[in-house]
Symmetry: C2
Subunit: 341 residues, 2 copies
Amino acid sequence: MRIALVGMGVVGQSLLKLIAENRSELVARYGLGVRVVYAADRSGAVHRATGFSPDELLEAKKRGGVTKVADAKAFNNIFDALEDAEADVLVDATPTNIVDGEPSYSIIRKAILNGMDVVTVSKGALALYMPALKEMANRRRILLKFSGTVGGGMPVLAFARECSKADRVEQIEGILNGTTNYILTRMEEEGLEFKQALAEAQLLGYAEADPTLDIKGLDTACKITILANEVLGMKATINDVKVTGIDTLSSQEVNRARMTGKAMRLIGYAGKDVLEVSPREIDAKDPLAVKMAMNAVRFKTTYSGSHVISGKGAGGVETATAVIRDIISIKMYRSEAGEKV
Amino acid sequence: MRIALVGMGVVGQSLLKLIAENRSELVARYGLGVRVVYAADRSGAVHRATGFSPDELLEAKKRGGVTKVADAKAFNNIFDALEDAEADVLVDATPTNIVDGEPSYSIIRKAILNGMDVVTVSKGALALYMPALKEMANRRRILLKFSGTVGGGMPVLAFARECSKADRVEQIEGILNGTTNYILTRMEEEGLEFKQALAEAQLLGYAEADPTLDIKGLDTACKITILANEVLGMKATINDVKVTGIDTLSSQEVNRARMTGKAMRLIGYAGKDVLEVSPREIDAKDPLAVKMAMNAVRFKTTYSGSHVISGKGAGGVETATAVIRDIISIKMYRSEAGEKV
């Protein structure tokens, strides 16, 4: 299966390492031979029909970018090569941009129009245009997969789809952002003010230098939008989500919750006609009330009650396993349809 | 899809109700038209090639058993009709028997030999003979499904299979029995002795009149055996599990755990060469430490950390949704293989 990889950040690099480490197992278990024929990053794009080894791309990245790779055609414009790459699957591992969804949106659109199946871990284009992108993909019989956008390595979307068979998911609520949960846990347990807890999270690598997307609740809003579309069948975008962040919470408010057996958490909620992200007091004993950088999601179903899944919701390697799961399911679907992949 | 249903207890009856309630949706979403052509319970078996309506079987059950249904060929020996039923899928909803796995074992074997795919919710035959049954089914290209044996309506097995793609589940530990968890929670929260808590659980319907399988840890042992085979690839039976129940625990022991921030729970564990069921002290804040009749399972993976899923682990309707999920996946597999179902 020929892969075009755009984005060589922590997820893109982890993906290459995972492919290298699990090459023989992927062939043995799924008949999946992965060949990366195209790679792009900030330096530009490279293409080689016979494929790049993961090591040679990782090595080139260290020396300044994928265009440093030897014996390959290099392009400044990442789209020029993509069209000719003849890849089966585009993997979009570009950073999330919720202003206009770029470059993710254009890359995904280009791939769909060129008949490539798509795996993305980037949330911006989906949060802004998910109904349109799904329709575009469906019309052209393209598979659009995005397991890695929610829950990192936890198979949240697959779990929800399984819950929806012979049953119906009616409501989703979850802690979908590890950074804010880390901050809230520290405010709760140590009585820190928001700014102190944020500084600590930045120091420890739980929060980015610009933490806006996380602390304003926008990352959670992207994820609840994706869940609402995929699991509840809503046709929504991030603009339909009522969002309140955690940056105005005081340590008093967090402590008051704690004193009454509650826990203050940033909750993403999707239910009938309601999409919301806001700090809420939930029961401290609720399985949703995970601590530190954990994520947790509850699916309320019609017949089989509420299911909660929790785990590490982010991380490069974790998210890369989600990408490979998506590639495997594309491979299985295409094989069953009798196509050569 | 023609179904042969054996067992008209709470799961069998819930399944019929679910089929009736969701008939049009199953056709619309999955192209799945369910026709129950054979049904068996303690009264015997009935067969009708054109199918029974769920209501007529439920009605007959109230009047003494499926053989009370009108206009059907009735058989005293449930196997005689099964062979001629020409069903596509056998649904085994008989009670769990861990002494010899009967009647489940003979029913499943008969179905496999007659070319029917199998869905079972009964744990005995699997716990005793799972490696052999899987081999028998594989050789004859029969699908053997058992989602409802672990976690009730929670898609535990599907979740674990998803976690195993491009990753590896290395260890499983879980609270897999709601009855014992209810008892332990009551001992913990109210200081009840085991016998008091058991009596209360029986009064409220959480424990059966004969609670042996639950309190001796045998139900948990069945489930951890099934998980070990399916998720870890072990070839194990219940005889390989070291089992300790909760019936000798004192309120002092449970309280001592509580006083030190721990929670006493009956844990099923499967890891490299180790299968064990025993009461253990786990951290009270561990997401595994669910309360009352809840279940929770942790999967420790190589790449993406630990995932915990929790929810209601039992119940007739809940387990029936698992049966329908299995029927749907059989339908999808057979359709993709180009077979008419």
